[in-house]
Symmetry: C2
Subunit: 395 residues, 2 copies
Amino acid sequence: MISVQEALHIVLNSVQNFGIEEIPFLKSFGRILKEEITADRDFPPFNRVSMDGIAINYLSFKKGQRSFNIEGIQAAGSAQITLKNTKNCFEVMTGAVLPNNVNTVIRYEDVTIENGVATINIDAINDGQNIHLKGKDFALGDILISENTKISAAEIGVLATVGKSFVKVAKQPKVMIVSTGDELVGVDEIPLEHQIRRSNVFTLVSLLEKLQIKSETDHIADDKPILKSKIETYLQEYDVLLFSGAVSKGKFDFLPEILDELGIEKLFHTVAQRPGKPFWMGTTKTCTVFAFPGNPISTFVNCLAYFHPWYFKSVGLELNEETAILGEDVTFKPNLTYFLQVKLELEKGFLTAFPISGNGSGDLASLVKTDAFIQLSDDKIEFKKGESHPIIRYR
Amino acid sequence: MISVQEALHIVLNSVQNFGIEEIPFLKSFGRILKEEITADRDFPPFNRVSMDGIAINYLSFKKGQRSFNIEGIQAAGSAQITLKNTKNCFEVMTGAVLPNNVNTVIRYEDVTIENGVATINIDAINDGQNIHLKGKDFALGDILISENTKISAAEIGVLATVGKSFVKVAKQPKVMIVSTGDELVGVDEIPLEHQIRRSNVFTLVSLLEKLQIKSETDHIADDKPILKSKIETYLQEYDVLLFSGAVSKGKFDFLPEILDELGIEKLFHTVAQRPGKPFWMGTTKTCTVFAFPGNPISTFVNCLAYFHPWYFKSVGLELNEETAILGEDVTFKPNLTYFLQVKLELEKGFLTAFPISGNGSGDLASLVKTDAFIQLSDDKIEFKKGESHPIIRYR
């Protein structure tokens, strides 16, 4: 049995490279950027009018001139025009190129326009005001988005601005999720007295959907030859296999044995944690195998605590530990890391975690009442209200 | 001009009901539940073995018996079997029904098995241990998930468990996103000197994708008759129209005029905020119109500050204000609510917001460097490090 820290260390040293693909930028939301995005031109690409109003030559204003004949209109999207007489003005629109021979914009709110003449009603005018200067935001060649950034709405906007209609992102792993257990029946079946419906594969599908990974699922009976032959095929076809169940000490927990027989290198089996202790992990050259214990909360927390960081590191994303303040005292005697379910409250900038007791690792419904797990280390028994500890959020 | 508080109040009083639809449960991730989910049976549905090991009658143990003949195996997924001789035991597997005539489970780790006899190696055995009692987690008819819950992986698991292969969720609104502005060209076009590429419609698409809303987009030239006729059609076909641009004081900012001519009831125009002041909002009986100013940051922050809460309330989701601690002093003189871009850091449970100065509302690329906006109210000028204020996250 190894500690949670050791297990995570091993997991993060076994990351995989799924490669790179080029996809339409508008499909890249939530994906991990695999190229540097640079500016294809200065931005703004021209001296840009940033207020609707009139544009004048500041020198005329400084000399005392307040009324200006309107020589024309510079609309956004029109080629730059030129003021013929520097005692005149142009009407100019937000987003337009600043016309030639003017250098200061006065917004409509401070101007009266009558019979083709604009009169400025205020005295506080700054030379060059209301102009967003060429290259002020960024210059041609500037790095706008670094490689390995997770693409959010902000990045989508920048990709559009610089004309990246296709963008390189990390390929997603091909994942097969397999449940075992003869007591399990399908979601639309009516279970017999001694049966229950499958649920773990679907929570795993959803936990992967959060990472934009589309996975496939299968259920295999507790039958050694069938299990073995199916897994042999899946090992060839997928980057990742996630299992739920059949890794503990039961008579029909064939999985560790089969995975061994199939030549998968075992990295560890059983981690000093509650819930989720009998977790098995191994790899082949092309496939990583996470075999989670079958209790619902065990599968759930292990996917979050190990598969998620493994995926993040695999695609190049930086890992950020999150923390919260314990909202009440907790005592936990076993020499195990305790993943305790908590409800989070963010008030005045303090993130507090309130423990919610469930009925053990089988109580899937308790996850509905909580938002996260707080991770209490195995080197202590008493955890005091007010202490901060790492958390793993799932909402 | 109205305050941000007044604007939000009006927005939240104009929510729409998009109706309810029934969809496959595995497609419901991120959607809002529109029915109560109750237990279709007790859970566990039987006294469930929760450890692999042997099951005995505790009375025999109490009387001093330590060795038990193994009468058979109760596997998970098999119908309940009955112990014939209460001095014997069964091997039992996690997830199995507890056999008849036994009441206590001892895990394999504490037992030696030889020649069909199991010998218990420890003395600390509790009557009834390692059994997850029928109905302990919940009883038939118990509410497991309330209506109006946002469906996460935890809820997907519960839906599977209770056999809800189809589930009622809030229908998503039909949304059309329209940009205007003759300076804008497509993402895969090379702009002329005085042109830029469209980006706001795509940031809006992504901000809606985060809510699982699939939207459509259009770009309309700054031409009043064309704009008017297209909008007239869209008003009939969509639940929501989002505009970016043409709501300020420019000569070609036709939108408020057109929306008025089309009989849309204006709720407000211009909000005392920076950025995003010229925001226009109105409604018809069947359509809600959000017309955001066209600067990239203005469109972005207004979508988050108004459309998102409007959507949440429309589908029945509770609004939760988030807050963070200001990481440095800020001075802001204008009598406006200031949506200031910040980078968030969560350390020891304290969420701190560090202001990152951009180059004003046109600087879309600055959003790449930040995670959220902190909302500084219009009734103060000095905001001190250490104070907490509301935030609007976009990562």
